[in-house]
Subunit: 420 residues, 2 copies
């Protein structure tokens, strides 16, 4: 009976399109920054859906939302399905949202068929996954996993100086749920790939067996403000020129390792005062290096640090890496990946083992509970873009495979060794 | 009697220090953006001083302020002394302000001694000289000189979308004075050098005989937004990388001509969306090339344009120069320069002929009336910086020389040919 269980794609799509109206941009994307009024509206709608589905909603001090469906076995830990409802400034309609609403749809499908589970099931919405408003990204799940102090996270401020904790209270999502990793059996996250591989192959299901090692460095360049017309070039300490060389260096270091799949980028560049006629006295550049092999990721960071003194000399600015974050060190769970593969095959799909290059809340969860991800294709791999798109046919197989794997986990099934 | 006329430096200094309190920054500078409440407060104070001095204040549609002292000869055109009371975001206390308040002090000195002039005298405060809030810079004098349409200037918007015309009305300085270049006999502007030459030489008076040819280009880079983790470098169209190469090119082209005094800089760099995890889809860079020789200035612009296709190719972005402005083409008046030199020598100072590299309202005035500038030293040449500083002893000679030259012009004196 359970083997032929399938989600209701019409219902899932209806929730996705309802979400797509909250923070909709003119060009068909979404702008729903973490803890903005739009995020508050979406959270309220999600809470209403959970209530209509009979789920118990709990919110923790970081605003992470947990919709709980009880299990039969007393004391059993919960199987959690999660992702995020916030978006980039020029984001798409599916990044994150699909994972949360697929979780809700799976619980609704179980209700439709009267399926009870041994374990409680939880659908989670993590706060500020994108990091588009508050840095660093994925902070809600990082605090949940005990990898970042709660108070420090609540004190993070956006560009306008608004404190994360105050923004949470303003939209009514500062809770007190005491849920923690000790309550969780396993974590599943479904997400669009945000890369071109599945789409190019015509494949529908990616089983994420590992995460790139992601290294962020914030580099600060300190120069001296001056009149850019009157001051000869040789007398300047121009932080904008230093920053430009940093951006070029980050790009070149990524390109040098591109053959082995390296990624690098500068996510944010701030120049002060950034004005006509004024030499910049300060610049801050957020640098991002990623590689599947932690050794190479480290080598990229080392190569980058090695280039800073020459840039400092040439621009006569002081350069320093003032902050550093790392994501993606922990492995994904092999048993959960096996269940996903089995479920995919049972649906007649050939699963593809993949790595995630993008950052996901699952990277934080993987540090403390067995965790895994499942990818759907997305058109041409375009994401973090208003043009981001998927079709129902693209995502249905992965949602059903996640449903199957969750039930397999609940039943204590084990994947056949060597089956992949 | 007139030859021994000297300004009251105590009184001038008191007005400068009163100005230094309006928009004062913690580090001893000024932040008094054009048409801000602080600019409004300073304008009101200046208007009160003018009134106390018996001057007639007129304000034109651009908010330019003209304080008028009548002359004796009917129909004679006015000798104008002007500069600006607005500042950079992190500006100093003297840039612009000194020129306006020196003009006021000169008129007060004439009153003290009962000196009447043949020509009317005007002290002018030009709107938005710095361009720190509304672009382009020096727009008040540009409209006065008939070099920019009034309506287009009133429609310029600041970063927050506020229209210049609305900002003028908000501080009560949208006037209707019909004053124009046809009413002006000659224009004098006193300013700190904003460069290190006079300070290094221990000289007190620079006679500005010409202006650098200043060329601004706004370059727009169009890329495509994408997820910077998931998207391989070879598949990106990263506008931030294109912008970084533009900044480096502008710096290198200036450096290549540094031996002949070239200047280049990027005044403002805007990257969109400028966020962690997102490839930039757009960047805008304000590029600034300056050279005393218009042929070389043009060659720098040409060299820059020639580098854009390679940057576009490498970054796969579209690059285009979307706007362009030019300042400083017109020569300064040789007769007025001669009067300044004579006045300097009469005070026992050796005047130094100089060029101005910085942009000044006098560049616009020079296109339509005989114009000249006089420079004072400033400490280490530091300007557009809160640390900008001058001493009374540094500026007194230039103020008295300007007084002497203005009276010489009024008396119809001519400098001895070949005296310099």
């Amino acid at each position: 009976m359970i083997a032929d269980l399938r989600v209701d794609m019409e219902r899932l799509w209806a929730t996705l399109m309802a979400s797509a109206r909250i923070g909709a941009t003119e060009r068909g994307g979404l702008r729903r920054l973490a803890l903005s009024p739009q995020d508050g509206e979406m959270r309220a709608l999600f809470a209403r859906w959970c209530e209509e589905t009979g789920l118990t909603l709990r919110v923790d001090a970081m605003g992470n939302m947990f919709a709980l469906r009880p299990g039969r076995r007393p004391g059993a830990k919960a199987i959690m399905i999660g992702s995020h409802l916030d978006t980039q400034i020029f984001g798409g309609r599916f990044d994150g949202v699909l994972g949360v609403l697929a979780g809700l749809e799976i619980l609704r499908t179980l209700d439709d068929r009267g399926v009870e589970t041994q374990h409680p099931l939880i659908v989670a919405n993590w706060t500020n996954e994108e990091g588009a408003r508050f840095e660093p990204a994925m902070i809600g799940s990082k605090v949940f996993a005990g990898l970042h102090p709660l108070e420090a996270a609540l004190d993070i401020r956006d560009k306008a100086g608004v404190r994360l904790g105050d923004a949470l209270r303003a939209i009514g999502f500062a809770g007190d749920a005491a849920l923690g990793p000790e309550d969780i059996d396993s974590y599943f996250e479904l997400h669009i790939e945000q890369g071109p591989q599945l789409d190019a192959l015509g494949a529908k299901i990616g089983v994420v067996v590992g995460a790139y090692d992601i290294r962020y460095l914030v580099v600060e360049a300190t120069g001296e403000s001056a009149h850019s017309g009157a001051t000869p070039l040789a007398d300047r300490r121009n932080a904008m020129v230093a920053a430009a060389h940093v951006v070029v260096a980050v790009d070149e270091i990524g390109a040098a390792h591109a053959a082995t799949g390296a990624r690098s980028a500068c996510g944010r560049l701030v120049v002060e005062p950034n004005l006509l006629g004024a030499v910049a006295h300060r610049a801050e550049i957020l640098c991002d290096f990623r590689h599947a092999d932690p050794t190479v990721a480290q080598a990229m960071v080392d190569a980058f640090r090695a280039r800073l003194p020459a840039i400092a000399d040439a621009s006569r600015c002081a350069l320093a890496a003032t902050r550093e974050w790392r994501y993606g060190g922990a492995p994904y769970d092999a048993a959960l990946a096996g269940l996903l593969r089995d479920a995919a095959r049972a649906l007649g799909h050939a699963p593809r083992d993949m790595l995630t290059v993008a950052g996901h809340d699952s990277m934080n969860l993987a540090c403390v509970v067995p965790s895994v991800m499942i990818f759907t294709p997305c058109d041409r791999g375009v994401s973090h873009n208003e043009a981001e798109n998927v079709s129902r046919a693209d995502v249905e197989p992965a949602v059903n495979a996640m449903l199957g794997a969750v039930l397999g986990r609940d039943a204590g099934l084990r994947s056949e060794p060597g089956a992949h």
